[in-house]
């Protein structure tokens, strides 16, 4: 994080919404702004009171191009979404949103609550963070609104200026961005997609091209804003789709879109009601079957007939000797299965039914 001292010299601040965007109802704008202030008041001693006339500490307005007396211009659709000024008199503390954007309360267009929360960070004295998981990172990324949007980095930043909140936060901060070369890194789920392999961890995704040294860390929401964080299993099917699993729900994704009717309950795949979640899944490209790992057992699903094979579940240790009783994640690459648990992975030959070698889980990242 970065900040500009001294910040506001008081903790009781006022704000005024000068005008509204026609993209949303006034009630929804009011709610988004109020909620965005609450994010910061939860973790600091600051309070925010709305006023309806006169000069507030934080004046909030929507505008296009050259707007009012603001020295900074907007640039039309996309590009710059909003800007704000650090604490001070006059334009100090003011927040402007580019009316050429499409403002929403959801994941389409740009979510006003998230952009407002980011800009309010500037209005309180924070500058941009280099932490990709921070709200104060300069590029927009959609976050599920049920999640608290501040990262530990954001909270450290605001508390470096104003100190901690006298009250305990009622929501935990988002987890910090995972470190790519952390030797203890573990994964929630892994899947292939065409030539790349995707490793899922909390809200993040690493994209790896195995024949290339590049590794990219992104937020899952950058590609699929409707997916929850903490995906538990994922696999690529034979139709160029990815299936994502969390709890008893699963989603089928084609490109950026979720197929209509999803999420569905995993029972619709043929699991008994006693199965509440899937730990890992892998589709065997050679056989057209998919193995679902649940606790110490696995089920086999026939992709062409879209039904579970008879005779399952079976014990993992019986058919995959050497990989242990539980699996975090698995994917197939060049015929081999790669099973992950904690910070280890097992390269497994499904034809010979034996482990070839055991490795650290993050060797795919060229650490």
């Amino acid at each position: 994080y970065g900040f500009i001292l001294p910040g506001w010299k008081k903790t009781k601040l006022t704000y005024r919404i000068v005008n509204y965007t026609p993209d949303m109802t006034q009630t929804d704008v009011d709610k988004a702004i109020q909620k965005a202030f609450k994010v910061w008041s939860t973790v600091s001693p600051l309070t925010f009171t709305r006023i309806y006339k006169g000069i507030a500490d934080i004046m909030i307005a929507f505008g296009t191009g050259a707007h009012g007396h603001c020295p900074r211009y907007f640039d039309g659709p996309l590009g710059v979404l909003g800007h704000a000024f650090p604490p001070g008199n006059g334009i100090g503390g003011d927040v402007h949103f580019d009316e050429d954007e499409h403002w929403t309360e959801g994941s389409a267009g740009f979510n006003l609550f998230l952009v407002a929360a980011h800009e309010f960070g500037h209005a309180l004295g924070l500058s941009h963070s280099t932490d990709r998981g921070a709200l104060m990172f300069p590029n927009y990324a959609y976050i599920n609104p049920t999640e608290f949007p501040l990262s530990p980095d954001d909270i450290s930043g605001i508390q470096a200026i104003y100190g901690p909140s006298p009250n305990t936060p009622d929501k935990p901060a988002r987890p910090a961005s995972p470190k790519t070369c952390d030797p203890m890194v573990s994964f929630d789920a892994i899947t292939t997609l065409r030539r790349e392999v995707m490793f899922f961890k909390d809200r993040h995704i690493w994209r790896v091209y195995p024949d290339n040294s590049e590794v990219e860390l992104e937020l899952i929401s950058t590609f699929w804003p409707f997916l929850p964080s903490g995906i538990q299993a994922a696999y690529e099917n034979i139709k160029d789709q990815i299936l994502f699993f969390k709890g008893n729900n699963f989603w089928v994704i084609s490109g950026y879109q979720v197929l209509p009717g999803y999420p569905k309950n995993i029972n619709t795949l043929g699991f008994p009601r006693s199965v509440k979640k899937i730990d890992a899944a892998v589709s065997n490209k050679n056989t057209g079957t998919t193995d679902f790992f649940v606790g110490d057992k696995y089920w086999r699903y026939e992709e062409s007939s879209q039904s579970m094979e008879k005779g399952y579940p079976r014990q993992i240790t019986d058919d995959f000797p050497g990989i242990g009783k539980k699996v975090d994640a698995v994917f197939q690459h060049k015929g081999f299965f790669y099973f992950f648990r904690g910070s280890k992975q097992w390269e497994f030959d499904p034809n010979a039914k034996r482990v070839i070698r055991v490795m650290k889980s993050n060797i795919w990242f060229n650490c």
């Binding site: 996309l78 710059v80 979404l81 704000a84 580019d98 500037h122 941009h128 280099t130 927009y140």
Partner: protein
């Protein structure tokens, strides 16, 4: 599915880079060569700062990854030099 943007013609890319760095990295427009600067060293230095900030490989060149980040929607407040 997400792929790096198509390589535009070099002139458009350089304009994007110039405008981005002026807005967010305080690159000063050259009064004699507003559209194109003869010496690229200040621009290279600013590109390196930008790449370092975003955790990209620091090449000093507007490579496809750098251009991709520059094209993402973002906040209008400069990243450095506030």
């Amino acid at each position: 599915f997400p792929v790096l943007p198509e390589k535009n013609n070099e002139g458009e890319n350089m304009q994007l880079v110039q405008e981005y760095l002026e807005k967010f990295y305080e690159l000063q427009p050259d009064p004699e060569h507003l559209a194109w600067r003869r010496s690229t060293s200040p621009m290279v230095e600013k590109i390196q700062k930008m790449q370092e900030f975003f955790g990209l490989e620091v090449t000093g060149k507007p490579d496809p990854e750098t251009l991709e980040v520059m094209q993402k929607p973002r906040c209008g407040v400069p990243d450095v030099g506030q």
